[in-house]
Subunit: 219 residues, 2 copies
DNA sequence: ACAAAAATTTAGATTTGTCTAAAAATAGAT
DNA sequence: ATCTATTTTTAGACAAATCTAAATTTTTGT
């Protein structure tokens, strides 16, 4: 089945918001997509008619099996294009999300499979998020939040929990990026802020908010 | 100024149809874009309001200076993406037009300039058409039709005058492509068909219609 | 259990891009 | 010069995606 750009953006948003949640609310979609709740309701009816979502009025929404497949296809495109932009075109990892937001809607499947091959079948995008394969299989990575990491234990940043320019600007300023190695020196109970030592470098302080959207793995 | 996908497709169509012609007719646009003449009229009013075209009812349409700039920007994107698909992703030159038709609408200028650099600033697309530079400058290639080439004179195919699958299928079958060297052995007055000797290879016959959309340069 | 608050849906309108059918203008032929 | 055929525009309608305002349903707090 074919989908419009608007439909694809809704499908992807339901997928992202569904993580952890049982069902996704109209308001959550409205906030995510920057549209009014009334517009969301209209689209949910349409996607229900296409059997992409399970939806009952006032009861929230979930992707159908078919809907999950479609979502993973869009996410695959999004992340492969992001990888391309950073790896081949030398974009900064904080500049690619907007562009990929458009590129993910190019319809050709042949294109995306050839791109995948050209890039060497990358497993993770520049933000550390796993890239689904052509069958829609995705690596479920056990994500450990930096805010829960053990003290004095070397870890490496493997993913960030948001693509907002604001977050990426802050990370760049603090000298943090994908693959940065560090350890937590101290956690302050008053505000939840953390003091980190970046491998062989300076000590930086990060807020509770920041530490909760940074994911790490132990080394 | 920003343009919708539909607007961009109209602007590009006017540019292409304008070649040679003084003005472009509503019907010509209707045929090129596969829409009804009434729809074309509506869009022409909109583009006139945006000062992209010069248009008077019943008098035909021409691009304004601004419109030409916009058209060249879209064509630049289209041809760079075609080059990328053939050169980096190993697409056949007959498979890229449809995909580029979508990719040309990705808005980021930074993307297209970085792509240009990545590709090594190519001057011609896979069909032999010149690629405008970032300022909109385009090489005006003196195109010599094969149907007008001198007998027994070695020439090289430099461009094809259409992107239709039908044409490209025929060329593939005859063993003709960009850069193929050949000479015209004979022209038959009855139907305008030509007998060609492909460099160091077999002799093939091509119709008048085919010879008129193949462009060559003398060697 | 019920009233108030919050969330969601419905109703009706708008924009964009398209269509069909009918009217108007232009071009072509005698 | 006039009639006819062709081209083009206008008028009115429709689907997609959005909005605002109002109605409805669900949730929450006492
Ligand atoms: Mn998108
Ligand atoms: Mn990403
Ligand atoms: Mn196009
Ligand atoms: Mn081309």
């Amino acid at each position: 089945m074919k989908f419009t750009m608007a439909e694809e953006n809704y499908i992807k948003a339901v997928y992202h918001l569904q993580h952890g949640q049982e069902v996704v609310s109209t308001n959550a979609l409205s906030a995510e997509l920057q549209t009014k709740p009334a517009s969301v309701t209209d689209m949910l009816k349409k996607l229900k008619a296409k059997k992409i979502i399970n939806y009952e009025p006032y009861r929230g929404v979930k992707l159908s099996a078919e809907g999950k497949k479609v979502a993973l296809g869009i996410i695959r495109k999004h992340r492969l294009w992001e990888y391309f932009l950073v790896d081949k075109l030398q974009f900064g990892w904080d500049e690619v999300h907007e562009v990929a937001e458009e590129l993910e809607h190019i319809s050709s499947n042949k294109l995306i499979d050839k791109l995948d091959e050209f890039l060497g079948h990358p497993k993770f995008d520049p933000h550390g998020d796993p890239i689904p394969d052509s069958k829609g299989k995705i690596i479920a990575q056990p994500q450990e939040q930096l805010s829960r990491a053990l003290l004095h234990t070397p870890v490496e940043i493997t993913a960030v929990g948001s693509q907002s320019t604001e977050l990426l600007e802050l990370l760049k300023h603090k000298g943090l990026q994908m693959g940065t190695r560090l350890e937590v020196k101290k956690v302050f109970d008053f505000d939840g802020s953390l003091e980190l030592r970046i491998k062989n470098q300076q000590v930086v302080t990060v807020s509770r908010e920041l530490a909760s959207v940074l994911f790490v793995k132990s080394l």
